[in-house]
């Protein structure tokens, strides 16, 4: 079953097509890798799917239901989509704990005004911080974390939303080997939980290890898709992406 589909998706920036008529499907409970050279439109695709850029034309279908010609960023949570960012965007002058809690608590202005985080929220935050190895840093301001720890905090914040579709935008960049193992184990656990993972990544070893399906983009278009071992051996992919 497709958790997410995009149909003829187009994004133009001042006449330049960053995403050019893309039609794709992301299957539920699978890790789909999105690869392509820099500027191929991977992050733009993520930004379109999470409402951070308006869609020029085309539609997005979430969970096989309504077609969305427009996605606003605050609707994304209700559609069951969450993300991490290519350039880490944690809330730096807030504690690690608050970075997680803000993804757990009420989205309503009125309800949030009369809500203090409950024992349930605290336990859930503890569970997430232990999962990403940051429980002992919970009182630290996020700005005091190392780059890798910030990446892990972003992953934790995404997990806190309980979204069914998680977009990871280069989550491995700048991580130490131990952290790489931790992130990979989280990805596998999420897949086992039935979540749909969209993984933008440049490291082909990771793509081969984790992904069930790979999409290759070039100049905003779909270049190839299929099983990793087949796609990554495709001559036109090697030429476009690896330059060999």
């Amino acid at each position: 079953m497709d958790a997410l589909q995009v149909k003829n998706l187009v994004k133009e920036f001042g006449g330049v097509r960053a995403v050019d008529g893309l039609s794709l499907s992301f299957e539920k409970g699978m890790i789909t890798g999105v690869v392509g050279p820099n500027g191929s439109g991977k992050t733009t695709l993520t930004n379109l799917l999470t409402g951070m850029h308006p869609i020029t034309s085309g539609t997005v279908v979430v969970g096989g239901e309504n077609e969305h010609g427009e996605i606003r960023s605050y609707d994304v949570f209700h559609l069951g989509i969450t993300r991490t960012f290519q350039n880490v965007r944690v809330f730096e002058q807030m504690s690690v704990m608050d970075n997680i809690l803000v993804a757990l608590t009420s989205r309503s202005v009125f309800a949030s005004l009369f809500e203090k985080h409950s024992a349930f929220h605290a336990n859930r935050a503890k569970e997430i911080l232990e999962r990403v190895g940051l429980w002992n840093k919970r009182h630290e301001n996020a700005k005091n974390l190392s780059y890798g720890q910030r990446k892990l905090l972003e992953i934790g914040r995404a997990l806190a939303t309980k979204a069914g579709i998680v977009l990871f935008d280069e989550p491995y960049a700048g991580l130490f080997p131990e952290m790489v193992k931790l992130v990979s184990s989280i990805m596998k656990e999420l897949r086992a939980e039935g979540k749909t993972i969209i993984l933008i990544e440049h490291d082909m070893a990771i793509i081969r290890e984790l992904c069930d399906h790979v999409i290759v983009m070039d100049a905003g278009k779909l270049l190839a898709e299929g099983k990793p071992e087949k796609v990554l051996a495709d001559g036109k992919v090697i030429e476009a992406y690896l330059g060999a």
Binding site: T50, G51, M52, S73, Y74, D75, V76, F77, H78, T82, R83, F85, R89, F91, E92, Q93, M94, D98, L101, V102, A103, T105, S106, R107, V109, S112, L113, F114, E115, K116, H117, R157, T161
Partner: protein, 288 residues
């Protein structure tokens, strides 16, 4: 004693203004230079209703808060698309508009002559006419403003405000309609400022437009930057320091003809040194 009570009353009222501004600037990251406009709306509404229509202070206060909140709702909506420097400039423009209204709508506001004869509050036959009783009233109001601010910043709502301050686009991606949160805190902040404005009008018994100009908004921003953005104790400390400092400087012995200007220079120097060596202010938790 009367002099000390006068300073204590001014401290309490400016503490309310500072707390109200800190909610939007320190906690939400919206650097508004329009706070004097909102406490001006509270002050003028209260003053006109009391002086011209004989309305009780506490009724006029509620109406002043309501009017400031309604104006803040409209202005907050208009400003919702502005960020950073553009937001600051937008609020400066708004403060100028309100100041110009106070100055030129002479049939209503008295123009440059202001409004005189504003009575002290009365409640169930008790008049807060003495400095002691007025101080208790203003201190109690400051305590309520502090309590309301504490309740807000400790709530999940307060956590979202801080996330908006840090990265509005990122928190929106987690399902928060940030416009609603910004509007809500802008309205609450304006209402709180208007409450302080009503007290100021009643205490001084006379108001004119100069009390509500852009320099007053800058002075308030200086208070919260000095005390520390994003903390509740910081703005209160900032108000205490900047209300008492000019009084302390009276004893330094500056020549009378330039004393006021030298005090302004000292304020400026204090802010410059803070920005250089302690940008988070005395008690701040948020660094610009």
């Amino acid at each position: 004693m009367e002099y000390l009570l006068h300073l204590a009353i001014l401290f309490s009222i400016f503490g309310i203004f500072a707390l109200s501004l800190d909610l939007i600037a320190g906690y939400t990251g919206l650097f508004s230079l329009a706070q004097a406009a909102f406490y001006g709306i509270g002050a003028y509404t209260t003053a006109l209703l009391m002086a011209d229509a004989g309305v009780n202070f506490f009724v006029a206060l509620v109406l002043g808060i309501t009017l400031a909140a309604v104006v803040a709702f409209v202005i907050g909506f208009v400003f919702s698309g502005l960020r950073g420097d553009y937001y600051i400039l937008g609020t400066v423009g708004f403060n100028f508009i309100i100041f110009t209204v106070f100055l030129n709508w002479q049939s209503l506001t008295g123009g440059p002559l202001g409004v005189a004869g504003i009575a002290r509050p009365e409640l169930f036959g008790f008049s807060f006419s003495s400095s002691g009783s007025f101080f208790l009233l203003s201190l109690a109001t400051l305590a309520v403003a502090y309590g309301v601010s504490w309740f807000i910043v400790r709530s999940s709502f307060g956590r979202v405000l801080r996330a908006i301050r840090e990265d509005e686009e990122a928190i929106a991606a987690f399902g928060y309609h940030t416009l609603y949160f910004k509007l809500a805190i802008f309205v609450i902040s304006a209402g709180m400022a208007a409450c302080g404005g009503a007290l100021l009008a009643s205490y001084l018994s006379f108001i004119d437009p100069n009390t509500f100009g852009i320099t007053s908004s800058i002075f308030l921003l200086s208070i919260i930057v000095l005390g520390g953005l994003g903390s509740l104790r910081g703005p209160v400390l900032g108000a205490l320091v900047l209300i008492l400092l000019p009084e302390a400087l009276r004893f330094v012995g500056f020549p009378d003809d330039i004393a006021a200007e030298l005090r302004q220079v000292l304020y400026g120097l204090l802010l410059v040194f803070l920005m250089l060596y302690r940008p988070q202010g005395f008690l701040g938790e948020f660094k610009l």
